[in-house]
Symmetry: C2
Subunit: 282 residues, 2 copies
C-alpha cells in the first residue's frame, strides 16, 4: 500500500477536508492531493469524483473557492483534487512561464526530454492516483467520475475518452477544448510532445471523440460568455461540439451569459455539476 | 457623493461580486471594499449585511472562501466587506507583526500617536462606509446588519453595542469576545488605546453588554470546539456569555464539535447566519 502523509485536516459540512502528500512513481517526485470525506464515509464506502484544476493552480484552489463540499456531503461522494504538475523537481525552464512547466502539466504524458522524466500527469491521474485513493480511503472501486476547469476540464475529457469505462461521467468548466488549435495548447504540446502533430491529436478531445469506442459517455460543458479566454479563442468549445455532432457523440454545452473564467463562475454552477455526476455514481 | 473606483467585477449566482477603492476621510488613506449585488438589486432597493474579517485578511478572503453569495442572492441582501486596517500608509512598526498594525485594526478608534492619525476603523465602519455604500448603491438606508469573524466578530459586536439601533442584528464566528483579557486584545488595545484600562473597557463587548441601552438586540455566536485559538484562550466566548447572562442580554452560543478557526468552519454555517440576519432585515 502506498504510504500517504497527512498535511492538514479541517472539518467542513460535517465531513473532513484533508490534504496529503505521497511519493509518486509515475512523476518521480513528492506530490500533494486534497480529499473531502463526507461524514458518512466513516461508515460506508462511497463513489469518488476527481477534480482537475487549471493553469497555475495547486491542490487547494478548488478546495477553498468552489464551495463543492456542501454538495459532496449532500450526495455522499468523495472529492479528490490533485496538483496540476510535478513539483519539487529541477528542470531548466520549468518556472519561466505560467502556462508551461510547473502548474501546467496539461494532463498529458510527455515524450520529449527532459519533461518525459517527470511530466506523466495522464498516467498519474488515471492509474497511480486512483490506486492511492482506493488503497487508502473507503471508496467503491468501480464508481468514479471526473471533472475540471480550463486545462483541467480538457484533462478530464482526455482521461475519460482515452480510458473507456474508467469514469462513469465527465464534465468541464470552460475547458481548453481543442488544444492543438489554440496558443496555450500549441505551446504545451510542442514542449511536452514535440513537433509531430499526429502525436498531438491523440491528446486532443476534439480529435478523440470520433474514435471513441466504449460505454455510453456524454461531455457536459459549462462556458461563460464573458470569459476573456473564450473570446481570445483559447477554449474553442464550438470545435469540440462540432466534432461531437459529426461523430454523434453526446454533448451538452451551456453558454452562461455574463460569467467569466473565475472560480466565481465555478462556484455558481458547481452544485449542478455534482448533481449531474451523482446521477451516474449512485 | 464620495467617488468610488471599480477595481473588479465578476458574475456569481446571477449577481455581481465587485471590488472598489475610495479615499477615506476617517482613515486618511485609499481603502478597498468588496460588495455583492444580487441581480434583483438592478430593480429594487435592498438591505445591507456588513462582514468584518479577521486578523491578516483584506476585503477578498470572505468573498473567495465563505460561499456567502449564494445565500445573499437567495434572500436579496447586499453584502459588503471592508478591509481590516488602513492601507498604503507609513507608520513605523505597522508591518512588524500579524496581530497588530496592518491587517489588524481591531475596529477601534486609536487614541495613541502615531496610530490615531489613521487607525479609526470603528468610525470608518459605522459612519463613513455606510455613507459610501448608501450613496452609491441601491440600499434601504435603515436596514442593515453586521457580522464577522474572530477580530471582525468582535468588531461586529462593538459596532452594534456602541451604536444602539444602527444595526438590526449582529452575529459572529469565533469572536475575540473579551479582548481586554486575552493576549491579542491586550497587545492591540495597549498599542491603539494606551495603558488606561478604563479606556479599554469601552471597546470590549463583554464590558459593553451591561451598559447597553437601546432597541432589542441579541448576540449570535458560532464557535468551533477544535479552534486552537479557542483552546489557547484568545477568544473567551464564555466570558461574554456570562456577562450577557448577568445583564439579561440575549445571547446564543453554538459550540460546534470538531470545527476549527478556518473559513471551512465559516463556509459550513454561513448559510445559517445569513438566514438569521434575513429574518431581521426583510
Amino acid at each position: 500500500m502506498t504510504k500517504i502523509t497527512l498535511i492538514s485536516s479541517n472539518k467542513i459540512f460535517e465531513g473532513y477536508q484533508k490534504t496529503y502528500s505521497h511519493t509518486s512513481k509515475e512523476l518521480s517526485c513528492e506530490m500533494k492531493f486534497s480529499i473531502y470525506l463526507p461524514v458518512a464515509a466513516n461508515e460506508t464506502k462511497m463513489p469518488v469524483l476527481y477534480w482537475l484544476s487549471g493553469l497555475t493552480c495547486n491542490e487547494l484552489n478548488f478546495v477553498q473557492k468552489a464551495g463543492a463540499q456542501k454538495y459532496a456531503a449532500k450526495h455522499g461522494i468523495i472529492l479528490v483534487c490533485p496538483d496540476t504538475s510535478p513539483r519539487g523537481i529541477e528542470i531548466a525552464g520549468q518556472d519561466d512561464s505560467w502556462d508551461f512547466g510547473s502548474g501546467a502539466g496539461f494532463y498529458v504524458d510527455a515524450i520529449v526530454d527532459p519533461w518525459s522524466r517527470h511530466y506523466k500527469m495522464f498516467s498519474y491521474i488515471t492509474h497511480e492516483l486512483i490506486d492511492v485513493i482506493n488503497n487508502n480511503f473507503p471508496t467503491i472501486h468501480d464508481r468514479q467520475s471526473i471533472f475540471g476547469h480550463s486545462m483541467g476540464g480538457h484533462g478530464a475529457f482526455i482521461c475519460a475518452l482515452k480510458n473507456p469505462g474508467l469514469y462513469r461521467s465527465v464534465s468541464a468548466f470552460a475547458p481548453i477544448s481543442n488544444p492543438i488549435n489554440c496558443p496555450w495548447g500549441v505551446k504545451a504540446f510542442t514542449g511536452y510532445l514535440g513537433e509531430n502533430k499526429d502525436e498531438w491529436k491523440s491528446w486532443d478531445s476534439t480529435e478523440l471523440v470520433a474514435a471513441y469506442n466504449g460505454p455510453s459517455l456524454e461531455l457536459f460543458i459549462d462556458q461563460g460568455k464573458e470569459d476573456n479566454f473564450y473570446t481570445d479563442k483559447q477554449l474553442l468549445p464550438e470545435n469540440l461540439v462540432e466534432a461531437c455532432r459529426s461523430a454523434q457523440f453526446p454533448v451538452i454545452l451551456n453558454m452562461r451569459e455574463g460569467y467569466d473564467h473565475s472560480y466565481f463562475f465555478i462556484a455558481t454552477f458547481i452544485g449542478e455539476h455534482i448533481d449531474y455526476h451523482a446521477r451516474f455514481l449512485k
